[in-house]
C-alpha cells in the first residue's frame, strides 16, 4: 500500500511550533517565577528593616518611658511610614509590629518584632534583648565640693535670702545657718542649727530634705524652720497627685521645738510635708508621735507602698523609689557620712566606705558602684610615696580635694576606668558650692601661659615627666568629665597650661589628661565641651542605665 504524504509538512510544523511554544512558555513562566521571587525577596528585606526599625522605635520609647518613670510593657504599632506606641500585646505583623516586655528578672528586656509581607503566611521575625537597670536617682556626688573634711560648720552669714543651688547639696558637717538654703535636694547629715537671737526664721526649700542629727536653734525661744517645695518644670506627682510640697527624710534626727529646752527624737523615716511646715512647731510635729488629734497635718508619714517603683510617684521628674537607694547610698548605717582618716584615700561604695590604701599601689575595683575619693593634706605623702601604678575602676568616680591643695599626679601612671569623672573640691574656708573663679575662658578650653591662670582654679599637675592620668571607659566609649569649678591642667615642666571653663566635657577613652597639650592642636579632638559655663552642672544621670543589646532571630 502506497503511503499518502499529503499534509505531512503542516503536521510537522504544528508539532515544531507546539514544542517552541511549550519551551518558551516554560522559560517565560520561569522568568515570571523569578520576578515573583525577586518581589518577595525585596519585600522580605523591607520587612526586615521595618522589624528592626520597630525595635529601634521601641528602644526610643523605653528611654522616654523610663525618663518619665512610666516604664512598663508596651507594643509598637504602625503609623504611616513611622511607628507609634500602643498598648501591650503580642506582635501580629500588621496592627502590632513589636512587643517590648521585661523578663522574669526584671532587668532583661526583650523586644520581639514581627512584620508581615507578601501574604499572610510570611513574616520577618527579629528579637532584641537589653539590660535595663534603675539607678539611684540622685548622683552620689550631690555636693559639688561637699564640706567633707575639716570645716566645723557651714555658715550662710551675710547671704541674705540664703544659698540657692541648681543641683543637690550634701553637707556632712554641722550646719550653722542664718538664712536657709534652696536646692532640688539637700542632705544635712551633721545636724542643722539656726543661728541668731530673737526669732530667727529660715526656709529650707527643696523637694527632698534629708536631716540627720540635732535640729535646733542657738537662741531657742520662737525660731521657725519652714520646709518649702520647689515647683520645677519636671512633673512632680508628689505635688500634683498627693498635694504635698515635698518629702523630708529623718534619720537619727532630733528636734528642739519652740519654747522647749528638750530635744525630741523623731522616728526615722520619710514624711510628706505641706508647704510651710514648721519643724519647730509642736502641732506640726505632733503627727510624728501619734498625736494626730493635735496635729496640723503638715507632716504625714509616707506610706511604704509609695516608695515602691510601682507607685509611680516622682519628685523633680525622678522616681521616689530611687531616693531610698540614694539616701542609703550616701550615708552609712548611722545616717551620716564619716570623714576618712587623714591620709587615707577612702572608697565609698553603696552604703559603706570600703577600703583605704597605703602606699602599695595596685588595682581598686569598685565594679559598678560610684566612688568618691577624698584627698586631704595627708594624701600627698601617702600617694606621692607610692611606687607602683594605681588603677581605680568604678562606674563614676569623684575626686574630692581640699580647696587649697593642688592635685598632683605621682611619678607613675594613675588610671581611672570609669564612665564619668568628677573633679571637685571642698572649698573651705568658702562655701562648698562656691562659684567658679573669675578669669576662666568663657566657652572652650584654652591653652594659656601658666602665669595667666587666675587664682582659685582647681589644678591637676604632674610630679614628674612619668606622671600620667589616664581616663578610660570599660567599653571604649568617651569618658564624661565634670568640672564644677573649672580646671587647670598643668603638664610637667611646661609654661603652657590647659585652662578649662566650668562644665561638662567628653574625653576619648584612654587619653592621658596630662598629655593633652603634648598633642598640640590635636587635643581638641580628644577633649570636647558638652555643656560649658554652668558651674553646677547636672547632679548626674541617675535614673536608669540601658546597656547595648543583641539582635537575634527568634
Amino acid at each position: 500500500m502506497k503511503t499518502n504524504k499529503k499534509g505531512v509538512s503542516l503536521a510537522f510544523v504544528i508539532v515544531v511550533v507546539l514544542a517552541l511554544v511549550i519551551f518558551s512558555s516554560l522559560l517565560f513562566s520561569s522568568a515570571a517565577r523569578s520576578l515573583s521571587m525577586t518581589g518577595e525577596s525585596t519585600e522580605g528585606r523591607e520587612a526586615y528593616l521595618r522589624a528592626k526599625s520597630a525595635i529601634e522605635y521601641a528602644k526610643t520609647e523605653v528611654y522616654n518611658l523610663a525618663k518619665s518613670n512610666r516604664l512598663a510593657a508596651f507594643s509598637v504599632g504602625p503609623d504611616g511610614d513611622g511607628f507609634r506606641q500602643i498598648a501591650d500585646r503580642a506582635a501580629d505583623g500588621t496592627a502590632c509590629l513589636a512587643e517590648c516586655k521585661p523578663g522574669s528578672d526584671g532587668k532583661t528586656w526583650t523586644v520581639t518584632a514581627k512584620v508581615k509581607y507578601r501574604n499572610s503566611a510570611q513574616f520577618r521575625l527579629l528579637s532584641y534583648s537589653f539590660a535595663f537597670q534603675n539607678n539611684p536617682s540622685v548622683n552620689g556626688f550631690v555636693a559639688s565640693g561637699g564640706a567633707i573634711g575639716g570645716s566645723q560648720y557651714i555658715s550662710s552669714d551675710g547671704e541674705g535670702s540664703g544659698q540657692s543651688q541648681c543641683y543637690p547639696i550634701f553637707v556632712s558637717e554641722h550646719v550653722y545657718s542664718t538664712s536657709g538654703f534652696t536646692a532640688p535636694e539637700m542632705y544635712f547629715t551633721g545636724g542643722y542649727q539656726l543661728k541668731g537671737g530673737g526669732s530667727p526664721t529660715e526656709n529650707l526649700t527643696s523637694n527632698l530634705i534629708y536631716l540627720c542629727g540635732k535640729i535646733n536653734c542657738d537662741s531657742g525661744a520662737t525660731a521657725s524652720l519652714y520646709l518649702c517645695g520647689i515647683k520645677d518644670k519636671a512633673a512632680s506627682s508628689v505635688q500634683q497627685k498627693r498635694g504635698y510640697a515635698g518629702i523630708v527624710w529623718f534619720h537619727g534626727a532630733s528636734v528642739q521645738p519652740r519654747n522647749s529646752s528638750v530635744l525630741v527624737s523623731i522616728p526615722d523615716g520619710a514624711y510628706y510635708f505641706h508647704e510651710g511646715a514648721n519643724l519647730f512647731d509642736k502641732t506640726t510635729l505632733a503627727n510624728l508621735f501619734g498625736n494626730a488629734q493635735n496635729a496640723d497635718g503638715k507632716l504625714q508619714p509616707v506610706p511604704q507602698e509609695d516608695l515602691q517603683p510601682s507607685s509611680g510617684l516622682t519628685l523633680g521628674g525622678k522616681s521616689l523609689a530611687g531616693y531610698a537607694a540614694s539616701v542609703a547610698y550616701i550615708t552609712d548605717n548611722t545616717g551620716g557620712v564619716k570623714d576618712g582618716t587623714s591620709g587615707d584615700v577612702n572608697w565609698m561604695s553603696q552604703t559603706k566606705f570600703q577600703t583605704s590604701y597605703g602606699n602599695n599601689g595596685g588595682v581598686f575595683d569598685a565594679r559598678d558602684a560610684d566612688v568618691s575619693i577624698y584627698t586631704d593634706g595627708g594624701y600627698k605623702d601617702e600617694w606621692q610615696n607610692c611606687t607602683s601604678p594605681l588603677s581605680y575602676c568604678a562606674r563614676r568616680i569623684q575626686l574630692l580635694k581640699d580647696y587649697d591643695l593642688t592635685f598632683q599626679v605621682p611619678k607613675f601612671t594613675v588610671t581611672f576606668q570609669t564612665g564619668s569623672f568628677w573633679f571637685c573640691e571642698q572649698s573651705s574656708p568658702s562655701y562648698p558650692w562656691a562659684a567658679p573663679p573669675a578669669g576662666l575662658p568663657s566657652d572652650a578650653p584654652t591653652a594659656v601661659q601658666r602665669s595667666r591662670v587666675p587664682t582659685g582654679v582647681p589644678i591637676i599637675t604632674a610630679a614628674s615627666d612619668k606622671s600620667h592620668l589616664i581616663l578610660k571607659s570599660k567599653d571604649g566609649t568617651d569618658v564624661t568629665l565634670i568640672f564644677p569649678r573649672g580646671l587647670d591642667i598643668q603638664p610637667y615642666n611646661s609654661d603652657t597650661t590647659l585652662l578649662l571653663p566650668a562644665g561638662t566635657y567628653t574625653l576619648k577613652s584612654g587619653t592621658d589628661l596630662l598629655g593633652l597639650l603634648s598633642k598640640e592642636t590635636d587635643w581638641k579632638t580628644f577633649l570636647k565641651p558638652v555643656s560649658v559655663g554652668t558651674h553646677g552642672g547636672d547632679a548626674g544621670p541617675g535614673g536608669f542605665t540601658i546597656t547595648p543589646g543583641k539582635y537575634s532571630a527568634p
Binding site: V17, L27, K52, Y57, N64, G82, F83
Partner: protein
C-alpha cells in the same frame, strides 16, 4: 460537476506549505518574543535583587551608625559618606531626589516630646539600578538613644 471540482486534490500541497510557513513564523516569533521578554525580566530581576540587597545593607548600616549619633544634623548639601563600609550620598536637607548618585539616603531627626532633643531618625535609603531607570527604596528608623 461543480461539486466534483471542489473535491479535486490539485494545489493543496502549496496551500498547506503556505499555512505551515505562516504558523511556523508566528510560532517562532512568539517563542523569540517570550524568550526575549524572559531574558529582560530575569536581568532586571537580578539587578533589582542586587539593588535591594544594597539598600538593605545601607539601611542596616545607617541604623547602627545613627544609633551612635545623638546629635546628627543633616548636612546642607549632598555629602558622600562611608556608612559602615557602604559609600552613599547623604542628601542632607536637599531631599532624596538627587541626580548623579546611585546610592542615596536621607535622614530626618525626630525630636522627643519630653525634652525636644533628637530621640530618633527617620531614614529613607534608595538604590538605583538598570541605568537609573528604576530604584529600590526602603524606609527605616534609628534610635538616637543607645547603641545597636
Amino acid at each position: 460537476m461543480k461539486q466534483l471540482a471542489f473535491r479535486s486534490r490539485k494545489g493543496v500541497s502549496l496551500v498547506e506549505e503556505i499555512c505551515a510557513v505562516c504558523i511556523l513564523a508566528v510560532g517562532v516569533f512568539a517563542a523569540v518574543s517570550l524568550i526575549s521578554l524572559s531574558r529582560v525580566s530575569v536581568t532586571s530581576d537580578s539587578m533589582k535583587e542586587a539593588a535591594a540587597a544594597q539598600a538593605q545593607q545601607l539601611g542596616d548600616n545607617l541604623i547602627a551608625w545613627l544609633s551612635q549619633q545623638p546629635d546628627y544634623i543633616p548636612p546642607t548639601s549632598v555629602t558622600v559618606r562611608d556608612v559602615g563600609g557602604v559609600s552613599a550620598a547623604d542628601c542632607g536637607q536637599s531631599g532624596i531626589e538627587i541626580p548623579g548618585y546611585d546610592k542615596l539616603f536621607c535622614v530626618t531627626p525626630k525630636p522627643g516630646a519630653l525634652d525636644g532633643q533628637t530621640e530618633g531618625y527617620a531614614i529613607i535609603c534608595r538604590v538605583y539600578y538598570n541605568g537609573r531607570k528604576n530604584y529600590v527604596q526602603f524606609h527605616a528608623y534609628a534610635s538616637a538613644r543607645g547603641t545597636s
